[in-house]
């Protein structure tokens, strides 16, 4: 397993643990406390230190580019979907009011979506068929 794959597994695990912790806090404690789960995301800051020996060749650079695009698309779709849901829930209110605490929650959710999809894409593309010179 290459360093890029190990790094992707690490970030994917942190992302999944963050999402699971959020759901667990919502179910077991309260919605108000649940955003504390996003503190787990800080573990991704250790990635450059934990995987210092990462040397990326042309194939892995190609994989990283594609994964970055997939991660960005996931974050974009997440933002659009959540904004539509929030609008749908509140638009009938007069005046329509949205809790300000939802905004950082949406941003952190988009971060988790981006990290999880990017890491998963790296792992999938390592198993897949890639063409640089033959397509």
């Amino acid at each position: 397993m290459s360093t890029q794959q190990r790094s992707a597994w690490y970030v994917l695990t942190v992302g999944v643990i963050t999402a699971a912790t959020y759901v667990a806090l919502v179910l077991l404690v309260s919605v108000a406390v649940a955003p504390a789960a996003f503190a787990v995301l800080a573990l991704t800051a250790l990635t450059p230190w934990l995987f210092q020996d990462e040397t990326i060749d042309e194939r892995e650079r190609f994989i990283a580019q594609r994964a970055g695009v997939a991660g960005g698309a996931a974050a974009y779709l997440f933002l659009v979907a959540v904004c539509m849901v929030v609008w749908w829930v509140h638009y009938r209110e007069d005046p329509p009011l949205v809790d300000v605490n939802i905004l950082p929650l949406i941003a952190m959710g988009a971060c988790v979506a981006m990290l999880v999809v990017r890491s998963a894409t790296v792992l999938v593309l390592h198993r897949g068929n890639l063409d640089l010179g033959a397509s």
Partner: protein, 78 residues
């Protein structure tokens, strides 16, 4: 999974050159072992630069290492 039309003799050439390991070839080409493995397994079509580097390691030309197979049969050593 569709196969690309670029076949190669990398696996055979490695064994003909003192049973060179994938890691040895990867080190000499400046790529990871996984990239050599993907290339031999017909899961990766390399850039022109990498194709030339591999050919140079084996002391031959690119067309002796890589073959163009429009019918998409993929790696020729398998």
């Amino acid at each position: 999974m569709s196969r690309h039309p670029l076949g190669n003799h990398v696996r055979r050439l490695r064994f003909e050159h003192g049973e060179m390991t994938q890691q040895d070839l990867a080190d000499r080409c400046g790529v990871t072992r996984q990239t050599i493995n993907a290339l031999e397994a017909d899961r990766y079509g390399p850039s022109l630069a990498l194709a030339f580097r591999i050919a140079r390691v084996f002391g031959t030309d690119v067309e002796s290492v890589f073959t163009w197979q429009p019918d998409g049969r993929g790696a020729v050593d398998q």
